[in-house]
Symmetry: C2
Subunit: 272 residues, 2 copies
């Protein structure tokens, strides 16, 4: 599909339209051109987008695919008249849901409008700051406030996972490295001992770990396969002994790791 | 809607189902109970979810709303028979798209499968590491590799925005504070001067800034409203003089800020 364009048209950021569209397009072995048109919130802007879509259809000889999240019906009616295959999540799902719930949708513009004023949003920002402050065992202060503490050897995926949990789910996620000194002592870092129940482990295949570490410090003891094998085995042994649940990050994305952790820790405010 | 449940049922992480469902539910003034059921990838698990949905319907006296992203038709057929209003994005959108494109969908399971092996995923992880290393002006090393450098006074929203750009879009986003010493000197921090074209400014209403800083350091000069007014005015004057585009983060979420920045910087690999 080299000569085919996909448009994301929204009166907000277009993030919902794009996530929605990507999840559908991921089902196809095709790489269409992506065109984002956020903040389309006046008829003038809508007509301009329609012109652009129609010109694209002519140029490519195929009508574009258009994912829309437009709450305002006047603007939506303009866009759906473009020479395109329009996928409209609001009309398809929101309107039937109104009937089911017996209430009218409030037709808010965009899921993030006024987000910056909500408690949920403030919690997310606070969680990001918390996770940054407690990245890589930087601080054991306020660890009691952590909802989860990721542990594992250096470069097992703790940092991006902590930040993802904070950013997407507002979870205060600290992370703490397990280092050779801990293995020599045969005990968790002392700052962690009181919080063992909140710990969740990440492990990784030694071969993959060596590869990742090699990019950072080539030809070092740190990245040597024998050392990676030793650290991973020692960390798994310690987690097993301490009764810490863990998973392997080797073939998992941070989204998949985070989902598994959430299922395990079941934070009170996220009903599972 | 206190006695109403919403289920997210997926054979992957359920992130797509949840984003999709949230964007639809955001249109309603209602707070249903959320129940996530990821990794439903066998008929047994599907039957178990159906039992749970049916029991919920009985208990609440209202059939639940169920958002599904199930690629496997055998599993999907089991779940759609639950006593529920089922919203199925694949059947509704993927199948018509097959007809439009004239190709079959590859029925991949989940948008993130094999994500951990893709170049795009590696770029995201690298961008997160880059943004962390270049948070708060920590390092001017490799600033040439940054795709955008956010500048602004302390607590104007630079850090969460940089991390969001990295995590969601794989953008190498550095951030650099503008501090009183810069205003006294009347010049950008020297490390930034060669990269002025990549700078993007964040500003914020002084009242909001004082409030945020107050939570951190109450009753300090740092959080005093007069000082916040001075710093914001001086930062805006500097950005104006240096020709740096900027926006106000006061009432914007990080998603909205990031979308605006992307539209402005138009990174080569994201077609706009």
């Amino acid at each position: 599909m080299p000569n085919r364009s996909v448009f994301y048209v929204s009166d907000g950021t277009g993030i919902t339209a794009e996530t929605f569209g990507n999840s559908i397009l991921a089902q196809f072995a095709a790489k269409p051109r992506h065109v984002r048109r956020p903040f389309i919130d006046t008829p003038d802007k809508a007509f301009q987008v329609v012109r652009e879509i129609n010109e694209t259809a002519l140029r490519e000889g195929k009508r574009p695919i258009v994912f829309v999240t437009l709450v305002n019906t006047e603007i939506r009616d303009i866009v759906v008249n473009a020479n395109a295959m329009v996928m409209d999540m609001f009309r398809t799902f929101v309107e039937p849901l109104e009937a089911e719930l017996g209430i009218k949708s409030n037709h808010r513009i965009g899921r993030f409008s006024d987000a910056s004023k909500s408690q949920e949003y403030d919690d997310r920002i606070e969680a990001i700051n918390f996770s940054l402050m407690h990245d890589d065992g930087q601080s054991s202060k306020n660890l009691a406030d952590a909802e989860v503490i990721l542990v594992g050897v250096s470069r097992s995926g703790k940092t991006p996972t902590s930040l993802y949990l904070a950013m997407q789910h507002g979870i205060k996620a600290a992370n703490y490295p397990l280092i050779p000194e801990d293995f020599d002592r045969g005990a968790l870092p002392s700052g962690l001992a009181p919080h063992r129940k909140k710990c969740f482990g990440l492990t990784i295949a030694p071969e993959r770990l060596a590869q990742i570490r090699h990019e950072r410090r080539p030809n070092s003891k740190y990245s040597a396969i024998e050392n990676c094998r030793f650290e991973v085995a020692a960390a798994e042994q310690m987690m097993r002994r301490e009764g810490i649940a863990w998973l392997s990050s080797t073939t998992k994305s941070i989204e998949e790791i985070a989902t598994t952790i959430l299922r395990d820790i079941r934070p009170d405010r996220l009903v599972y």
